[in-house]
């Protein structure tokens, strides 16, 4: 910015700045109306009785219920389970995609982008068709004699996890793939020419240089899975009850707005905790990398 000596010009610049600021007001207003206000309303509602009086009874009721703690455990299990499978399936795929010519990689990326652009309801329906007792997979398994009885693949934790991994994998893959694409191929060549085996190069060169992408991917997995609703609602068959499902049931079946709000706040707290965990882990990892580089 140049320093404007003339006060009239400076006033003009200030006026222009105010004008530009005002351009974002309509968008900020609607975000306030449809995102910030609702969250504040949940906080307020959590302290209200059905009659509208102030109370902490909702908190006592929700926090003393075993169902709440079971829901918290299920939420965390689903999130970490999804993350584990995303890392397990996504990292090798990202590595393979990053190691081929961009043309081929783009073509293969279409396979990743197709599900990303398919409605979650379509995909959930697809999994129902595949995983049911009379579904495609069970028919193939029993038909080929691999199993005598159809396996319970859906309307349980397994089915929910499969659906969630399928939803998150493309979103996890994108940042990891981007990070691996950015790795200087000369580093890999240097490592190879110094005699490192493929496994050593992957462990000491490629993976450390992709941690940024893996971190972003993992954070995305957490942000999405912590409040996942559709997949457990359909593929869980009433047996998988993370916080999101408990919120819905408390709201629609029991009409208990106060308790549903407390559960919502628990979800926010859980998100904040995991977010903090990520920040700490990232800082520790950055320090570690720095340390080994100088060792």
């Amino acid at each position: 910015m140049t320093v404007l000596a003339d006060p009239a010009l400076a006033a003009d610049a200030r006026r222009e700045r105010r004008f530009f600021l005002s351009l974002s007001l309509p968008a900020l207003f609607i975000v306030g109306l449809a995102a910030i206000l609702p969250i504040l309303w949940i906080i307020r509602q959590s302290f209200l009785t059905t009659g509208g009086d102030y109370t902490v009874g909702n908190y006592e009721k929700v926090l003393s219920s075993g169902l709440t703690w079971a829901a918290l455990v299920t939420t965390v299990e689903l999130s970490f389970g999804t993350l584990a499978f995303c890392i397990l399936l996504g990292t090798p795929l990202a590595l393979a995609l990053a190691s081929v010519r961009p043309r081929v990689a783009n073509l293969l990326m279409a396979f990743v982008m197709l599900p990303l652009w398919t409605s979650i309801l379509v995909r959930t329906y697809g999994w129902l068709v595949l995983l049911r007792r009379e579904g495609l997979i069970n028919t193939a398994l029993t038909g080929s004699g691999l199993t005598a009885e159809p396996l319970p693949l859906v309307y349980n934790f397994t089915g929910t996890l499969i659906g969630m991994v399928h939803y998150m994998l493309p979103l996890f893959l994108l940042p990891v793939y981007a990070a691996m694409r950015d790795i200087d191929a000369n580093l890999v060549r240097a490592s190879a020419s110094m005699g490192a085996t493929l496994a050593q190069t992957i462990r000491t060169v490629i993976l450390p240089l992709s941690t940024g992408g893996i971190f972003s991917g993992s954070l995305i997995v957490f942000i999405y899975t912590i409040g996942f609703f559709i997949t457990p609602a359909v593929l869980g068959g009433g047996k998988v009850n993370p916080l999101s499902i408990r919120i819905e049931r408390t709201l629609s079946t029991f009409q208990d707005w106060g308790s549903a709000s407390v559960l919502g706040i628990l979800l926010l707290v859980l998100m904040a905790l995991i977010g903090m965990m990520f920040l700490v882990a990232r800082r520790l990892m950055a320090r570690n990398k720095f340390g080994t580089a100088h060792a």
């Binding site: 530009f20 600021l21 005002s22 351009l23 974002s24 968008a27 900020l28 609607i30 975000v31 449809a34 995102a35 910030i36 206000l37 609702p38 969250i39 309303w41 949940i42 399936l89 996504g90 090798p92 795929l93 393979a96 190691s99 990743v112 982008m113 197709l114 599900p115 652009w117 398919t118 409605s119 979650i120 309801l121 379509v122 995909r123 329906y125 697809g126 068709v129 049911r132 009379e134 028919t139 399928h166 994998l169 191929a185 060549r189 490592s191 493929l198 942000i223 912590i226 409040g227 609703f229 609602a233 359909v234 999101s244 819905e248 709201l251 707005w257 709000s261 919502g264 979800l267 998100m271």
Partner: protein, 263 residues
């Protein structure tokens, strides 16, 4: 990247067979739906023994499904019409202000995409209930608009960064007011990006289900909400027909966006 290891044929074969399985896993649920939608049978048999269009007939013949489709299309169009202009103005603001202020605005606009959908949905439900607006199109619309604004911004911000702001200053110094400068200079030059942003905003609304499930009802139920309700009760092949149509619509829209961006 791995060309430095041309001898590790076994590792390569293992890696690629693993990847083929993962890619199959990704494609399978979308692909399996297509043949089912053309099945002639009530059962979800695979592969279908006889083919027909009866499930498509079922969909187009049902008043409920048609109302859902209409609501979803109207809602998507309205969402795009509201979200894209708001996003364009906000992006101009972010682009011109720069620094911390711009980051703060960007952060605020991104909040809705970080907050879990279920929380937005019940919060919005409470707010709308207090105003007796639950079940109205308006309620779902504001919910979809806040989700579409960040999506539109992702498309518009890089386009604005490439835009030569001197042109606006020239127009301004020649006496054009701001409305004229934005409408006559910025909008025509960002045409392609604006079209992409519009389609993306439309798709965001079309694909959104959680807010619709909680806030929309009756005549204003969206197609995803109706699909969700029917998936919970029974799995009838009509859903396969809807799913196939849905995926084709979305793919065409995505193809238009990506082809436009390349040209």
């Amino acid at each position: 990247m791995l060309e430095a290891y041309p001898d590790n044929r076994l590792a390569r074969i293992l890696l690629w067979s693993f990847c083929a399985l993962v890619l199959a896993f990704l494609m399978l649920p979308t692909l399996v739906v297509v043949p089912l939608s053309f099945s002639a049978s009530d059962l979800l048999e695979f592969p279908p023994r006889a083919y027909s269009l009866r499930w498509y007939g079922n969909f187009f013949g049902s008043a409920t499904w048609m109302a859902g489709l209409r609501t979803s299309l109207i809602l998507g169009t309205l969402t795009a019409m509201v979200a894209v202009p708001l996003a364009l103005l906000a992006c101009i603001s972010i682009n011109r202000l720069g620094g911390r202020t711009a980051l703060a605005i960007q952060g605020a606009l991104l909040t809705p995409s970080i907050v879990p959908g279920i929380l937005l949905a019940i919060g919005l439900f409470f707010v709308l209930a207090a105003q007796r607006l639950v079940g109205t199109l308006f309620g779902v619309l504001v919910g979809h608009v806040v989700l579409a604004i960040p999506v539109a911004c992702i498309v518009l911000l890089p386009a604005l960064a490439r835009f030569d702001w001197n042109q606006v200053q020239a127009a301004r110094s020649l006496g054009a007011n701001w409305a004229r400068a934005i409408g006559g200079i910025i909008v025509p030059q960002l045409q392609i990006s604006l079209l992409s942003a519009t389609l993306m905003a439309f798709l965001t609304s079309l694909d959104e289900s959680v807010i619709s499930i909680f806030v929309a009802s009756g005549q204003n139920s969206t197609l995803p909400k109706l699909m969700f309700l029917s998936l919970r009760d029974q799995i009838d092949p009509t859903i396969a027909a809807i799913s196939t149509l849905w995926t084709v619509i979305v793919l065409v829209a995505v193809l238009i966006v990506s082809l436009r961006q390349k040209s």
